[in-house]
Symmetry: C2
Subunit: 630 residues, 2 copies
């Protein structure tokens, strides 16, 4: 239908009727569930009808077809509308919509990728545009496919700064295959939005951010269709359709009422509303046919790249034990660059710190797969989420502390179980003089909390290099923690590492304590070992490496061998780091534990001074062991 | 000087000379430190000279005077410039600048409030504007003072979405006492910025966000002064000065060079640069005098309110044991509303969820101290940080999950040790049908990681009410965790609570296990107690209440009494929650621990179904105890 220039009467009738069905479905499902957001569905029903049944080219029976046009529902609370749109397109029976929000149903309160037509979970607002930008850039710049990407946003969520991060990036990169719509229904959850129906201000803002901005009556089918056609015809920049709508449109008395956010209609009201809506149905929409891209050649969506079996590569870390001290961030950067030719799925996103994180080596090796996200960590992450949903293996890289900026996106990455690889460099107080604002000291707490995250924390450049390859190969979200200072090479080029496995570095038959360290504290633990050895106190030393999953079996065995005395030491705040992870692993064991970590807000100083001052150096480890066995 | 209309030759000479001194100071300090960002100081030296020595009205010898005009250095890496500006104004000897970045010096790598002239730590970019907005709104709308607030931003950081959140809020509220400057030096850390020197695009964006936008040559003293005068004369909206500058301006060969971010000059280069700069000094700036607001009446800055001694109030929670089930979020909302007349320092910020968090009751009680932040959690937090720095006690309130959006700001709140009170409602899977995107399941990991945070987690409406008052009275950053579902009233109106103290709800002389619960799992633990009691297994039950600081003494005593068997149960992901906090408290005790928490990504469903499915209900507690003692 989108290919014809004129909208005939039947087409108009079909689109209007589909919109009525979407409203009916949304009301029925939410009333049956007893909760949900019917009014937020109703305002966008005409927009979704036009997009799904006239504009988008997709196969409703194959939602995972990679050459379908893509739809991202950023305003995730309108989930019933999304589900209705797919059901009314033929993806599944509309009766299944009545399972909305039930525990056995995948039609959850907000969309998740349990459903085949959802790329990324939404429901935390202001994220969908970044996801759409990621999918659009992948399609346009990497796959060179003709796909178009449509994002539906709410007006309230356009207050999120992340929306403007996405806007500026898409504008800068002139993503002509991206079209977003804002459902400007004037009402937020608790009161009117900032701009209400001031479409002119919306227009000026988006225009200034490099978008074609098209104000339109969001309940006028023909006007919407014209706007989307203009969007399709504009290839040099993204388009935003600014749709003036009414919340609860078509739902009787609740239409445009301020107090009807996130409430299901009671059965009686719902029955009346549905009865009124049904009067508008003529059955014309039975004549609708999917806009199936049968004319597209196979493979038209391009490829997300492929990863060779790692064993086929003879690349390995270039560092020698006892060789030049090297930072783990450098080990990561080298490993990433070496991975470039081996795994074409890998893309790297940078937050304007590539010369500190050493991702610039990857940029040299594969400039087309290096994406500059600038200082906008939320959008950088959102783009990665979109690309991961489409088969890429994106590395999101910046200082560990600045990943806190993207924690809501990281949380949604977990919910979506996407293979995004977060890499934080400059972890901990060992960065030195730049001071606490640049120190990642809560990143393990944040990342390990997510139950499906894999978290690796290498202690030298070799293990960092290996960890980079491990996370690239592992399916699922990962976090790799690296540090700033040059540190000793502890492992040779052939040393192998595994997710879930630690390294026992020192052991004897009569160990009196187990020291568990990670990252920069491993060399400290080894120095403590020497001192204690001189004092006739043999101890076991473990390099934890894999924080999540943790090597519970080895930790238990080593703790038992060491008489149940365990000292952990980490360059992280005390709560939520490796100490807690180790203690949790050993909790059933009746061990005695001492946790060394950063206990107060740190400050600027030289790395060695800080490591001593904040109590995570070899001296403190020694005294912890001494006092524990005294 | 700012009061005169004409800039005479001497004044111009003074300002130029001060700018030269700022450059010299910045180069000398960073070279002495061996690290830092001299080029980022040099680009802004003329701006800072004009602001500090001609525009701002402040007493350099009393930086904490509340009626001083306020300066916020958002581009915190230009810290040496800030320090130099205060030193050259007379706050301290310029020779002290050479202690930059040393462990014994408060002149840290990025500014922190260890210094009397720093309100809020900066260094994580894109936060200073929100801080300035908070200070400006407090001065304008709450104190009705004539103070003006100046924020200096970098161009790279204007890519942060948080900057646009702040921009839209200030524009909407027409904060005419706010003037920001962007030091548009074209170069980021690793490459040119998105917009480089495209001032027209900057101008259009800020204009569209409701600001007076003034492009200017940032090295032209007279032009800068004219711009700031125009800003002062414009009272109906904030002003942004868009300053075209060169990175490293005046520093010889490094000027406008892409590869000179964050690098100190070597001694030889620095000596040459300083010698050249010194040739421009004539000594005219000795005639500069502080623009001291001696003409301002005392108290012209207004008051940040005051808190009565709590004992003077006879307000107390209105709930009765066994009375109507009430959600902890409601207990919080009621407590907050009751606090409104008692403590006029308290302000409340909402992220458009006031009807869910129950802060709308506070809005009714004190509408002038209720601030609608809309769906922009970063700016909401940044505004609170600014207000807290000025003596307010701001409550930042939204769903617990959406506080993740502001984690970088929360981290900086910790570094600044500000009395911001974060309140997360709708914690955990017990919210039910809305699904995982709306469930706060990592908030304890996030908040407890910060070493100076107080974290309370009440289990009923009474303790939530009390906790609200406790955090308001406590100096320092706090987090209060509340839930969505109505739950039993466990405590009477006269029950007292304290930070750092738990409640022992069930105990006997022969307890065989200790169950530690919090929030919604407390009623579950009490049900488990009943079941176990029927089976002849007496157990102790603790309502943890205070997660940080934790009641280590009572936990140890109870764990010992219960034979060293401890079961924790929480509506939070397993890592970083109350289980880890309890295990850490008991780590020296050779206890046996079992941690019940949410172990996988949850889904939509009824609260009771979810609590059972994800293993934190009374049945699971019973079976954990049974299997542990078997």
């Amino acid at each position: 239908m989108a290919t014809t220039q004129n909208l005939n009467a039947l087409q108009l009738e079909i689109l209007k009727e589909k919109a009525v069905r979407l409203r009916i479905d949304s009301v029925r499902a939410t009333t049956e569930a007893g909760s949900g957001h019917p009014t937020s569905c109703a305002s966008a029903a005409d927009i979704v009808s036009v997009l799904f049944y006239a504009v988008m080219r997709f196969d409703p029976r194959n939602p995972r077809r990679t050459d379908n046009d893509v739809f991202v529902l950023s305003k995730g609370h309108a989930a019933p509308l999304l589900y209705a749109a797919w059901a009314e397109a033929g993806a599944f029976s509309p009766e299944r919509l009545l399972s909305l929000r039930k525990i056995e149903s995948d039609l959850e309160g907000h969309p998740t990728p349990r459903l085949p037509f959802v790329d990324v979970a939404t429901g935390s607002l202001g994220q969908g545009l970044s996801v759409g930008v990621g999918i659009a850039l992948d399609a346009k710049d990497l796959r060179h496919s003709g796909q178009r990407v449509y994002v539906l946003m709410g007006d309230g969520e356009s207050a999120e700064g992340s929306a403007w991060e996405a806007a500026q990036w898409a504008g800068l990169h002139r993503l002509g295959n991206l079209c977003a719509t804002i459902d400007i229904n004037r009402l937020g959850q608790s009161q009117p939005t900032m701009l209400q129906h001031d479409l002119e201000t919306y227009r000026r803002r988006w225009d200034a951010f490099g978008w074609q901005a098209l104000p339109v009556d969001g309940h006028d089918i023909a006007a919407l269709l014209a706007a989307y056609r203009q969007a399709s015809d504009t290839r040099d920049r993204p388009t935003i359709v600014l749709a003036h709508t009414l919340k609860g449109k078509g739902l009787g008395a609740v239409e445009d009422d301020e107090h009807w956010h996130g409430k299901a209609l009671d059965r009686e009201t719902a029955n009346k509303v549905v009865a009124e809506l049904r009067k508008q149905l003529t059955g014309a929409d039975a004549q609708w046919e999917p806009n199936f891209p049968a004319d597209l050649p196979a493979g038209s969506a391009g490829s997300a790249g492929s990863g060779q079996p790692r064993a086929a590569s003879d690349a390995k870390p270039p560092y020698e034990i006892g060789g030049k001290e090297t930072a783990t961030r450098k080990g990561f950067g080298d490993g990433l660059a070496a991975l470039a030719p081996v795994d074409s799925r890998v893309v790297v996103l940078d937050g304007d710190v590539k010369n500190s994180t050493h991702t610039e080596e990857f940029e040299k090796a594969a400039p087309d797969r290096f994406i500059q996200g600038y200082i906008a960590e939320q959008n950088m992450t959102g783009m990665a989420m979109g690309m991961a949903a489409r088969g890429r293996v994106p590395f999101v890289t910046t200082f560990a502390c600045f990943l806190t900026r993207a924690y809501d996106f990281i949380r949604m990455t977990a919910i979506s179980n996407l293979s995004v690889k977060f890499v934080g460099t400059h972890a901990g107080i060992s960065i030195g003089e730049d001071g606490p604002s640049q120190m990642g000291l809560e990143d393990l707490a944040m990342m390990c909390a997510e139950p499906n995250f894999t978290v690796l924390y290498p202690s030298d450049a070799t293990s960092a290099w290996r960890a980079t390859w491990l996370v690239a190969e592992h399916a699922g979200p990962c976090y790799l923690r690296t540090g700033r200072p040059a540190s000793p090479i502890l492992y040779g080029p052939n040393e192998q590492f595994a997710i879930g496995k630690c390294k026992v570095l020192r052991k004897s038959g009569n160990d009196r304590a187990l020291i568990v360290a990670a990252g920069v504290t491993v060399p400290e633990a080894l120095r403590a070992y020497e001192t204690l050895q001189e004092q006739g106190i043999p101890v076991r030393v473990i390099d934890l490496f894999s924080v999540r999953p943790i090597d519970r079996e080895e930790l238990i065995a080593s703790a038992r061998d060491a008489g149940g005395l365990v000292v952990t030491v980490e360059d992280h705040y005390e709560h939520g780091g490796i100490g807690d992870a180790v203690f949790a692993a050993l909790a059933g064991e009746r061990f005695r534990g001492y946790k060394l970590g950063v206990r107060e807000i740190p400050r600027s100083g030289k790395p060695a001074e800080l490591v001593e001052k904040f109590g995570i150096d070899h001296r403190r480890i020694v005294s912890a062991v001494q006092s524990a066995i005294a």
